[in-house]
Symmetry: C2
Subunit: 214 residues, 2 copies
Amino acid sequence: MRLAELSDRSGVSTATIKYYLREGLLPPGRQINATTAEYDGTHLRKLRLVRALIQVGKVPVATAREVLRHIEDDSLGRTVRLGAAVWELPQGPQPDEGDEYDRAAHQEVTALLERLGWENAKQLTSLSPAYRALVVGVATFRRLGYDWGAEQLVPYAELMHRTAVLDLDNLERYPSEAERVEFAVLGAILNEPVLQALHRLAQEEESARRYGFE
Amino acid sequence: MRLAELSDRSGVSTATIKYYLREGLLPPGRQINATTAEYDGTHLRKLRLVRALIQVGKVPVATAREVLRHIEDDSLGRTVRLGAAVWELPQGPQPDEGDEYDRAAHQEVTALLERLGWENAKQLTSLSPAYRALVVGVATFRRLGYDWGAEQLVPYAELMHRTAVLDLDNLERYPSEAERVEFAVLGAILNEPVLQALHRLAQEEESARRYGFE
């Protein structure tokens, strides 16, 4: 298809598509003469992903380029490739003040992973932004004087593990490795807000069931 | 306790405490003479909440004031009071383009709530930002060409409902109504990032279990 059709079918303006091409976010089309290039389904799919990253995920162009680079890097194993793509995305709070609360939170989160039997996650702790975000979260509760640690988090972690099992089952429905990694990135951008909305709706539902609307 | 002790025990500077007092985020202390006021445990607790809202939740002062107003408004029933406090917090994407995708997403989300038997949540749809965020999320998937609707969301919604049951069970451990509403607000600010981190860690764990690190 020509640029105009790619624009029609993707809902992205030709000017924006040209910008993505210049920035290397989309691979060039097949040049059929000096002024015309031909695009195909892979361009359409990639364009959809770039839109999700930039327009929905509000990811900077340089970050989008890094995410796409990881998605396409088939020298990496699947776990690392999924991880690397998602790790480029904006993460929860990362600063670690290195004070007594942070040190206690590190120990608490390590104890949590042990209790859960998440042996693989334990090996990733030095790399994973999610691990750091969890430490920061636990430290914040403690710094504010709330008792909210491994004890309270175990049942939540078990529910999040079931959620992750659903995520990966859904991922495996996609035939190619590239599509699976793409879907994992989209999950982090599109599905996390949906889960948050479902969680808040479920709180409203459960609250009304317990206490009514009065 | 005096201002200096309130500052020591809360970790908030006296200048910041004075600012919160001026802005009406903290109730005034009991004036014991022209220059000295006496503060107590309720000030310490409220200060902790204000810090969570402003320093951790990055909520503007005016929003924090609204949230606190709802927390203290005991003319409201618990469901509405919990809801009103949380609804003031920053929400997921709210814009609704009113196009065919949004209309289809409204129908899809209504069908989802019916299938789940969330009769109370259905009654709140015109009020609840979570409902709107869910519609926007479903519409975004569709706009990008992904098949991700009620069918796929039912098992996620069921897990989020179990998560909400845990949330409310935890809430009920607090003796007073004011503390319960406070904890619900803190849950939305502090615990949602923790859940997101647990979810991403669980994805890494499950991915490594299925595919190893290679």
